[in-house]
Subunit: 243 residues, 2 copies
């Protein structure tokens, strides 16, 4: 199946209908002509028409309602992108072979941590730190994972042994959770004393801190990861697709 480049009949129907939606001949919120009407208009079989409609549905132009019709959604909005590779790696790369766990345990949530995780100040949280340095990584970083202690029950976050899967994979698997999005917040700040020590930098240096808050479909935080690091002079790169 494809769109415009094929000369197949279904592809022609896709093109005509999409053009009509895009130029407003079928406005947002209106109902598309029924399959029967389109069969007559295009002189095509119902299967061929439905094939074109299914393709438009997948692209986000239409929503089918059984028994009623197909609702025009207008031009599909740009979808929310997937995370950049570095964020993806932070969530999914196995800890094993990927730096050193330098601490794991419980602590009461500070105001900042409480805000991150949407829990009360003082609530016990699990804090797990791992450091990644050396030429195998694009930038030296200290990764600090936070999650509520109650949410960590049944997981291995409080152990210092590195996980054989990504931190998010581990949480989703052990707690049967489903993460749906991640908020990434980037800030510049001075390193803490501990960060200075672990990253072997001066407290006068500037660290790039990226806070990731992973959420479920109700937008509730499941997990937060604070990545703090020193960018190399050449910076760090990411590649994104424009197609």
């Amino acid at each position: 199946m494809g769109g415009g480049s094929s000369s197949a009949k279904y592809a022609h129907i896709v093109d005509v209908l999409r053009e009509r939606i895009v130029r407003g001949a079928y406005p947002l919120g209106s109902m598309l002509p029924s399959e029967s009407q389109l069969v007559r208009e295009f002189g095509a079989s119902r299967s061929t028409v439905v094939r074109a409609l299914e393709y438009l549905r997948q692209l986000g132009y239409l929503e089918g309602v059984q028994g009623k019709g197909r609702l025009v959604l207008g031009t599909p909005p740009r979808r929310r992108p997937s995370p950049p590779a570095r964020t993806y790696e932070s969530l999914h790369a196995p800890e094993v072979g990927n730096g050193t766990v330098v601490g794991a345990g419980r602590a009461p949530a500070s105001a900042r941590i409480a805000a991150m995780l949407a829990v009360p100040v003082g609530e016990p949280v699990i804090v797990r730190q791992r450091i990644m340095m050396g030429s195998a990584v694009p930038w030296s970083t200290l990764s600090t994972v936070y999650l509520p202690a109650v949410a960590a029950v049944g997981t291995r976050f409080a152990d210092v042994d590195p996980l054989r899967e990504g931190v998010l994979d581990h949480l989703e698997r052990r707690r049967r959770l489903v993460a749906t999005d991640v908020v990434e917040r980037m800030t510049l700040r001075a390193p803490s004393a501990r960060e200075s020590t672990l990253l072997a930098v001066s407290t006068d240096d500037v660290v790039l801190a990226i806070l990731l808050v992973v959420r479920n479909s109700a937008a509730s935080p499941l997990l937060a990861i604070d990545l703090a690091g020193i960018l190399p002079p050449a910076g760090i790169e990411e590649l994104f697709s424009l197609r």
Copy 2:
């Protein structure tokens, strides 16, 4: 159409075939059983089988070759993500109503610019600067667009009038080009004298510089944008989908 959650016959076929691919029953590089064989195995019509196969093809598990068969591609790799919203805006948001163009003209390419654009040092390039400040933007930035002067022929990049479309949209439209990816490189540095002046910051401050290099399918640079700005204390946020 969908995958596993439906009880429809085609959905069941999707699940079974995907599971076989994932666990290696159909290894990467092998040919899937033919449609006829699958029709017999599942006791389904060819249309129902093909519907399942088309879905798997769209997910990236299979590649059909007319007359030959369907090649197993294995578990589809993670697709390259689309740019984060802020990068997307830099490329596609219309300049009009979005900051002030503070300079536009020709200059010989410095070594740095030459490297960015894959042109010889000294080659004439168009440099276009726009500043975005104030509460309407998440961070104050100076955007500097660079492209080879020969590539800018027929465009309005050398004018100080703001464009009514995004810079990449303008280039693609006027020059009939197709951009396929963008490399984003993030660095921290001190502001230049001009940046200090335009951004109203001290030369002792740290700017976050994001260099975007937009490329075509041959990985040739079409356009470079240097975004330099001061992060607010709260940082800047992005949202990414994990589904």
